[in-house]
Symmetry: C2
Subunit: 86 residues, 2 copies
């Protein structure tokens, strides 16, 4: 693997796990009122389209990193709705 591929993998991993600290913060503090549901919805829709794009190109790094994002962002969305009044 050359440098280019390592940069791509690092970028994909960082962006796909980026919502994890937000999810952990919501679960720990049980507060989510300031978080935009519209942001999470647009982001998850975008990740879903990236996964479709990855399938169309048979590009597994794009498919996998976006499935990680979809999972984390959907769980974050669940807790955002669950703690919507706090």
């Amino acid at each position: 693997m050359d440098l280019k591929q390592w940069v791509g993998i690092a970028a994909g991993l960082l962006t796909s796990i980026s919502m994890l600290p937000q999810l952990i913060k919501i679960i720990k503090e049980k507060k989510a009122k300031d978080i935009s549901i519209l942001m999470l919805s647009i982001l998850t829709t975008g990740n879903t389209l990236w996964a479709v794009y990855g399938f169309m190109r048979n590009d597994w790094p794009i498919i996998i990193t976006n499935f990680i994002s979809i999972t984390i962002n959907s769980i974050t969305g669940y807790y955002r709705i669950r703690y919507k009044d706090r």
Copy 2:
């Protein structure tokens, strides 16, 4: 352009503007305490690496969509810090 490219462009646009509703919500409500600074930092670092990856591959859609993300996410980070006590 074929369907694949349209799906890629739509995915890129959605993920790059996804933080915009969050930025607008913070500016309107002047509240940001529930938002994770670590999330914004990881996301912006990931976007920066994607932009570097785009330069390495001379892939302008990747460069442009990630510059949009870096701009919006950095401004969101600024307001997150500015309203950290509310």
